[in-house]
């Protein structure tokens, strides 16, 4: 089919094959997109996290990185947690630092650090004397030194005497020898004088220090006595209570949490940490409604009423589920049946008190201490 005048097919096929091969080589793989970066960091908060919004303060200076409940005292270790959660916060295990080598690396295990060669224990250095040592010790020391100096002086005297005797013996001999002896004697004399001066200076310094210490102690004692005297002068028996109070440990009725946290984070003042989650709330309302409906004698007229009459009863509850004061009806209706229904509902609340609230809801008392319950006759039937 390939003719010389019409080479189109062959050339075209060849061209397409070339293009395909080039495409296969050039577009062998897709280059991955550059790493996606969020324009605005968005944090997703699930309902349970929203329920656990911690209380903050509008006047707080800054938002804390990890807001914690404001707490002035440390609570007991046992914390009230939602059912199903761990009772305690276990600290996260320490993560392995990246520079640590992995065990299965083919690297020889590092040698244990060489055991330090036992050094010859240095002789225990005499503890330096504090500048103000006890008076007695200072006196003793001074005495000792003085004795030593006296000994030295005595020795020097003896020597001198011996030398003088020698000089006298030798004086008759040679003038040269005499001159020599004289020079020697003079040198010895100078040495003696020097030693004496030194000893004297030392003793004097010692004495001065002692005097200063004594003076200081005296001054302090005087000041203390003066203060006490002053206090005694100002003593007022009416202040006893105040004095006693100020000596006591600081008390507070502040909140408590596992960690003490004195700085509040920004947030709403009305937000509270322990809130019923929607599902728990529904569960609790169901429990309360169930109990109330069992106590409720539904008026006969209500059961056959053409229009539903639903009184809403507001109850204030104690922690044990008992009623505080009287329950009250919050809504109203012109329906003549309403009065009857409301009265029967209030009777039911009295009859049911105390309500049995499961223990798991005890932590959320703030959330259910003031509940409003609908008394709907249709639910009972």
């Amino acid at each position: 089919m390939v003719s010389r005048s019409e080479p189109g097919l062959a050339v075209s096929a060849l061209g397409h094959a070339t293009v395909l091969v080039a495409g296969l080589l050039a577009f062998a793989g897709a280059t991955p997109l550059p790493e996606h970066q969020e324009a605005i960091a968005v944090e997703v908060i699930d309902p349970s996290a929203l329920n656990q919004v911690t209380r903050g303060e509008r006047q707080a200076e800054k938002v804390q990185e990890q807001p914690q409940q404001r707490a002035e005292r440390q609570s007991e270790i046992v914390e009230r947690k939602e059912a199903g959660e761990a009772k305690q916060d276990t600290p996260a295990p320490p993560s392995r630092p990246p520079e640590l080598k992995v065990a299965d690396d083919n690297v020889a295990a590092p040698l244990p650090p060489a055991r330090p060669t036992p050094k010859p224990t240095p002789p225990a250095e005499p503890v330096k004397q504090p500048p103000q040592k006890s008076e007695q010790a200072a006196a003793q020391e001074a005495e000792q030194r003085r004795e030593e100096l006296a000994k030295l002086a005595e020795e020097a005297e003896l020597e001198r005497k011996a030398k003088q005797a020698e000089q006298e013996a030798k004086a008759a001999a040679k003038a040269k020898a005499e001159a020599e002896a004289q020079a020697k004697a003079e040198a010895a004399k100078a040495a003696k004088l020097k030693a004496e001066a030194e000893a004297k200076a030392k003793a004097e310094a010692e004495h001065k220090a002692k005097l200063a210490a004594e003076a200081k102690a005296k001054r302090e004692a005087e000041a203390k006595a003066k203060r006490e005297a002053e206090i005694a002068k100002n003593f007022n028996p009416n202040d006893i209570a105040k004095l006693l109070q100020s000596k006591e440990q600081a008390q507070s009725s502040g909140s408590s949490a596992p960690q003490i946290n004195r700085t509040a984070s920004l947030g709403t003042q009305t937000g509270s940490s322990q809130k019923l989650s929607p599902s728990l709330r529904a569960q609790l309302m169901g429990i309360i409604q169930d109990q109330l409906q069992k106590c409720w004698n539904v008026p006969i007229a209500l059961q056959s009423a053409p229009k539903p009459v639903v009184p809403q009863v507001r109850m204030k509850l104690n922690t044990d589920g008992s009623l505080i004061g009287q329950a009250s009806v919050t809504n109203s209706s012109p329906d003549p049946l309403f009065r009857v229904a409301a009265d029967s509902a209030l009777t039911a609340t009295r009859r049911c008190s105390p309500l049995r609230i499961p223990a798991q809801f005890a932590a959320y008392y703030d959330d259910w201490r003031d509940v409003i319950v609908n008394f709907d006759a249709r639910d009972v039937l």
């Binding site: 050339v11 075209s12 495409g23 296969l24 577009f27 793989g29």
Partner: protein, 237 residues
């Protein structure tokens, strides 16, 4: 075992070469792709052939006109050309001359409407030549208009197919959806790859044909004027 090898095996190999795109596509999409590729090959073969043909035609016309206007005897020229297959201008010339010769061979009895007959013959020959030049250009036009639609059909089918796959597997993450859609879009890409050159070449070649036809007609008019002058001279003689 070497952990690197394990990781390489675990990670899905993302290979998006032409071959992968083709090989993972649905059979219908595959057929569409292959058809479009064949269409592209065909259309390029036509483009190449026609381009060569038109260049040759132009050269032939130039050389023939040179010979024709060189003052050579037309009889002689006719004798040269009559024995071999000829194209375009030469064919027009030969057709008109043949009619002329035939009319005078029979003792000049049918000379009265010879001019009209020659015009007819010229028209027919030009028509035939133009047809020869124009042949297969329609294929280009068809490919240019139909290939995008065929490619689109492949794409729609591929996307439909990948959506049904999503529905069955109940997993709609982009990593699962993307390869199927990329494969499907590849069909449209091939369609456009075939259609764009076809459209451009069709327009260009169409213009070339029109130009050649105009030239042939101009020559035919001139030649017809020469012949009619000859006829009138002979009739008057």
């Amino acid at each position: 075992m070497n952990p690197a090898v394990e990781i390489a095996q675990a990670a899905p190999q993302v290979d998006m070469s032409f071959w992968t795109l083709f090989w993972h596509a649905h059979i219908v999409v595959k057929l569409v792709m292959m058809g479009l590729l064949a269409a592209s090959i065909w259309c390029w073969s036509i483009i190449i052939d026609k381009t060569l043909l038109y260049r040759r035609t132009r050269q032939d016309m130039d050389s023939f006109e040179e010979v024709f206007w060189s003052g050579r005897s037309l009889e002689e020229l006719y004798r040269d050309l009559a024995n071999r297959p000829v194209n375009d201008m030469a064919a027009v010339f030969v057709a008109a001359m043949r009619e002329w010769k035939r009319s005078f061979e029979n003792g000049g009895r049918s000379v009265a409407s010879l001019s009209a007959r020659i015009d007819k013959v010229l028209d027919v020959t030009i028509q035939r030549e133009a047809e020869r030049l124009e042949s297969k250009l329609l294929v280009l036009s068809t490919i240019a208009s139909a290939a995008p639609f065929i490619g689109l059909f492949g794409t729609v089918w591929g996307i439909m197919n990948s959506f049904t796959a999503i529905a069955v597997s109940k997993n709609s993450s982009l990593a699962v959806v993307a390869p199927g859609i990329a494969e499907a879009l590849f069909a449209t890409a091939i369609g456009l790859f075939a259609a764009i050159p076809a459209l451009m070449a069709y327009n260009k070649l169409q213009a070339e044909v029109a130009k050649a036809q105009n030239r042939l007609e101009a020559f035919a008019d001139e030649f017809s004027a020469i012949l009619s002058r000859q006829i009138d001279e002979r009739l008057a003689a």
